[in-house]
């Protein structure tokens, strides 16, 4: 028996969310009285693999096959399922990010393992196996029971935190079968903004809505984000109008994020917007309308004009740093 965590890498590096995944899965393995195996696919140095030991990964299985250097969900799912069968894994855990969303359902079908996406905490009960997740875009929580012998879960970002538990890492190589027919998708172009804070990873997010009135008015938002080392985001009409790119749109139909701090400037707080931000640890709202619904979900609020308040905040944060 074992529990497997799939640790995705980004150009050979892990992120905090990877360590959160390992922390979570270690705790789950302890509760189930079984071993944790962390699976890494692709080119990752031993030094980087060893960092997983800080969070309790005593066994790391590394698959280093040049065919797998580019993430292909079909092939990755095949590798994960092969390892799960070899190690008689009862649960496979992944992060609920783009790749987790693409791979986990495939592993579920391969193993005929019931799957639940974006769970919020350790299982509510182990027998039966019941996990808790957000449903109706955050308006409620659902307890979902997985009845199959094997199980697949993905964990929501920032749901668990990091638990240090330093152990010695044993790295094993694993050479699964992957045939060329699995690679039918060809990447022909890739653009990445290296200098920007990535919204889905950001601890602090400065977000703005139609209250900014025009796309020319975004400088105060960007300046505040810069001082805070924050990512920028926006409401749906702002991206629909093309004032900002789609990648910034948060909410029910955009990204669902869970930063430590979310600053909403000139955003009314419509229910569909809140669906994407309600997992933030702390919400600050700035709005001219004291009755705006955003204040009912915010922790701190300022009634005022964004064009005046944002520069003041930027100045105050800058001063507090120096």
């Amino acid at each position: 028996m074992s529990v497997i965590a799939f640790a995705k890498n980004w150009n050979g590096k892990f992120k905090n969310s990877t360590y959160e995944l390992v922390s979570y899965t270690k705790e789950l393995a302890n509760k189930l009285n079984t071993n944790l195996i962390v699976l890494s696919i692709g080119e990752v140095s031993n030094d980087e693999l060893n960092t997983l030991g800080k969070f309790g990964a005593d066994k790391v299985v590394s698959v280093n096959n040049p065919q797998l250097n580019i993430l292909t969900s079909r092939a990755y799912a095949k590798v994960i399922a092969q390892l799960a069968e070899k190690e008689a894994a009862s649960v496979v855990v992944m992060s609920d990010n783009n790749s987790g969303k693409a791979i986990a359902p495939r592993v579920s079908v391969k193993l005929k393992a019931g799957m639940v996406a974006a769970v919020q905490e350790l299982p509510v009960s182990l027998d039966p196996f019941v996990v808790k997740k957000r449903v109706f875009s955050g308006k409620a929580f659902g307890h979902v029971q997985i009845d199959s012998e094997k199980k697949v879960v993905t964990i929501a970002k920032n749901c668990f935190g990091l638990i240090e538990n330093q152990v010695e890492v044993n790295i094993e190589e694993f050479a699964p079968e992957v045939d060329a027919s699995l690679f039918k998708i060809q990447v022909i172009e890739e653009e990445e903004q290296k200098d920007k804070v990535i919204l889905s990873d950001a601890d602090v997010v400065v977000s703005a809505g139609r209250g900014m009135r025009s796309p020319e008015n975004w400088a105060p938002v960007e300046e505040l984000a810069e001082v805070l080392g924050a990512a920028t985001a926006c409401s749906r009409p702002v991206s629909d109008e093309g004032w900002r790119g789609h990648e910034e749109h948060v909410g029910q139909t955009g990204k669902v994020i869970a930063p430590n701090l979310y600053i909403a400037a000139g955003i009314s707080g419509a229910i569909q917007h809140v669906a994407g931000i309600s997992r933030s640890k702390c919400i600050v709202a700035i709005n001219t309308d004291p009755e705006a619904p955003i204040f009912s979900v915010a922790d701190y609020g300022i009634v005022g004009d964004v064009m005046e308040v944002l520069p003041k905040l930027t100045k105050a944060f800058r001063n507090s740093k120096s």
Partner: protein
């Protein structure tokens, strides 16, 4: 080329959710049902592709797994412009079950492209599309923000953290689509609504398929405490509260 668009029938996004039978079931009394927002965008893009003469797309079919309660939603999809609708008459028990039903249909009725939305706004399972791809052993592309067919050459864009990728693939494949795939969902016209009445809505018996998970209980989130209001002149006070009270900086 034929495109199949998977449709989930979900409560309107402004619905106040309630539960019944000891919080074990969603209470759907008085609920307005809509096409899941991403599925609606997927359908819109599929119709745009059909209208574009630069490719051979000639049929758009929508499919739903569920009871007769969803027929109005499927008629809406037909009114927007889908050529036909298929409903697999089964209670959509979990993602595995739904994807399995759609895969069984696909085995008998092949399509070149299958669109599914990134998630369903009710149970937020975000797995049906990728599961269909696996059941069918098709390539699948997730987080798709654009699909272009130039002379049936397939080019897709997908969002990656901090950027995008442009990909090429071959049919058949599954695209799991999100924001960006189409600009605005189409609204049915009067003529569309009339025509939809004559379009086929085929009801098919469910296939034998396992259900691996079930919802056992629901709960509402804890009430949020009151918002602390700060004077617009007191930016320093907010910084202090974020540091020392909320401890998020």
């Amino acid at each position: 080329m034929k495109i199949l668009v998977c449709i989930s029938n979900v409560p309107d996004t402004t619905t106040k959710v309630k539960f019944k039978e000891g919080d074990s079931l969603f209470d759907d009394s008085g609920v307005q049902w809509i096409i899941n927002p991403w599925d609606e965008l997927a359908l819109t893009r599929a119709l745009e592709l059909k209208e574009d003469a630069g490719n051979s797309v000639n049929e758009i079919c929508v499919i739903h797994v569920g009871g007769a309660g969803a027929d109005a939603t499927l008629r809406k999809a037909l009114a927007i412009g889908a050529d036909k609708a298929v409903r697999i008459d089964a209670c959509p028990a979990d993602a595995y079950h739904v994807a399995g039903q759609i895969a069984e249909f696909l085995k008998e009725n092949p399509f070149d492209i299958v669109f599914s939305g990134i998630e369903s706004s009710d149970y937020n399972g975000s797995s049906v599309g990728a599961m269909i791809a696996e059941f069918m052993d098709y390539p699948g592309i997730s987080s798709v923000t654009a699909v272009n067919l130039d002379d049936d050459d397939i080019q897709l864009s997908r969002a990656i953290p901090g950027g995008k990728q442009v990909l090429k693939t071959e049919t058949p494949f599954v695209a799991v689509v999100q924001k960006g795939i189409a600009n605005e969902p189409r609204i049915p016209s009067m003529r569309g609504i009339m025509m939809a009445r004559k379009k086929p809505l085929e009801v098919k018996a469910a296939a034998e398929m396992d259900v691996l998970t079930k919802s056992v209980k629901f709960e509402l989130p804890a009430e949020k405490g009151a918002c602390k209001m700060i004077e617009s002149e007191s930016a320093e006070q907010l910084v202090d509260l974020l540091k020392n009270e909320a401890k998020v900086l």
